[in-house]
Symmetry: C2
Subunit: 215 residues, 2 copies
Amino acid sequence: MDALEALMTTRAMRRFTTDDVSDEMVATCLRAAQQAPSGGNVQALQYVVVRAPEVKAAVAAAYLAAWDRYERVLGAPPSFRTPDDEASWRRTKAASDHLAHHLDDVPIIVLFLLPVIPWTPSDDEGPIDIGPLYASAYPAVQNFCVAARALGLGTTVTTVIRCETEAVRDAVGFPEGWEIVALVPVGRPSGRFGLARRKPVEALTHWDRWGQKRR
Amino acid sequence: MDALEALMTTRAMRRFTTDDVSDEMVATCLRAAQQAPSGGNVQALQYVVVRAPEVKAAVAAAYLAAWDRYERVLGAPPSFRTPDDEASWRRTKAASDHLAHHLDDVPIIVLFLLPVIPWTPSDDEGPIDIGPLYASAYPAVQNFCVAARALGLGTTVTTVIRCETEAVRDAVGFPEGWEIVALVPVGRPSGRFGLARRKPVEALTHWDRWGQKRR
């Protein structure tokens, strides 16, 4: 499929059919993830593909606990600019809630893990901020999701599982000193791919100077 | 162009021709960036497109200062596993050095900016780690770069400019309370697109349990 179309229509999918996803399709998406940029070409990111029912059940239980904790403090934003904004927010929340209660039924869960490593050099003037190691993680997550979309697979990037990291560590057996940067469910989506609702990019783009519109 | 091919062959480009890049091509890449996932659909990321010679010169000078500071502490990694690894590292360093000294000649520089906003809710048990806001920034940077590649444009994701943030703030006029998450040069690449050198993804992938290979 066309590259620009894939980029534009990779939207969060939170409802899936129970159709299976082959290991080979997951491997294709991981190869795309691995080609994403990595600071200093360190390539610190690693991947866990969860398919086995007992492991998936434990990860799904941890995800539901994380979601429940987050949802309790989430509430609604104090005000919505338009009724459409509120409707959109409610749809997303319902879909996120659905995912949290049905993650166990999704064919594949992929965990993206980073080692917690020293990443800030310093000199006589002090630390040199060369950017967060996350800059070498989330591009790979996005490559994974766009590759999946090109194969007709739905995904969504989630991070709330971080507040239940220890339960996932127990389920999967990853060592101390690693953090979960994303949990991505993968399956055949129930809904259709398409443009996600976004602010117009023109309103967020500055040309040459902050606040300056395109000539 | 094909989506998987674009994902696989978006490699860092650090040498560019002086051919112009149209605003419309940049806008196409920004639209792709804007469709990347955003936690809670907050869409906090904003973009500055630098084309004006005097602004570009100031940003390029800040970049060179940042690179010089970083390069002085970089040195060589203590050892290389193979001569190929060392050669690859030296090529990348030479290209990065070239970019730092010629950023002024690149047609377009795009800055990706995030507001520094409170992002961690908490409850009676303490803070709830819902993931870094960077999870809603670097997917957009990657979408931008893959869209550019589909248009035949080269890019590279850089973050070292962060240690010269104040100079860039002066040049571009962005307000306090915003951080630079990436600086991406955009131009027609001198070199060819292709597979970047990466570790085999199989060596970094765990199936169901940490350390377990594919069945």
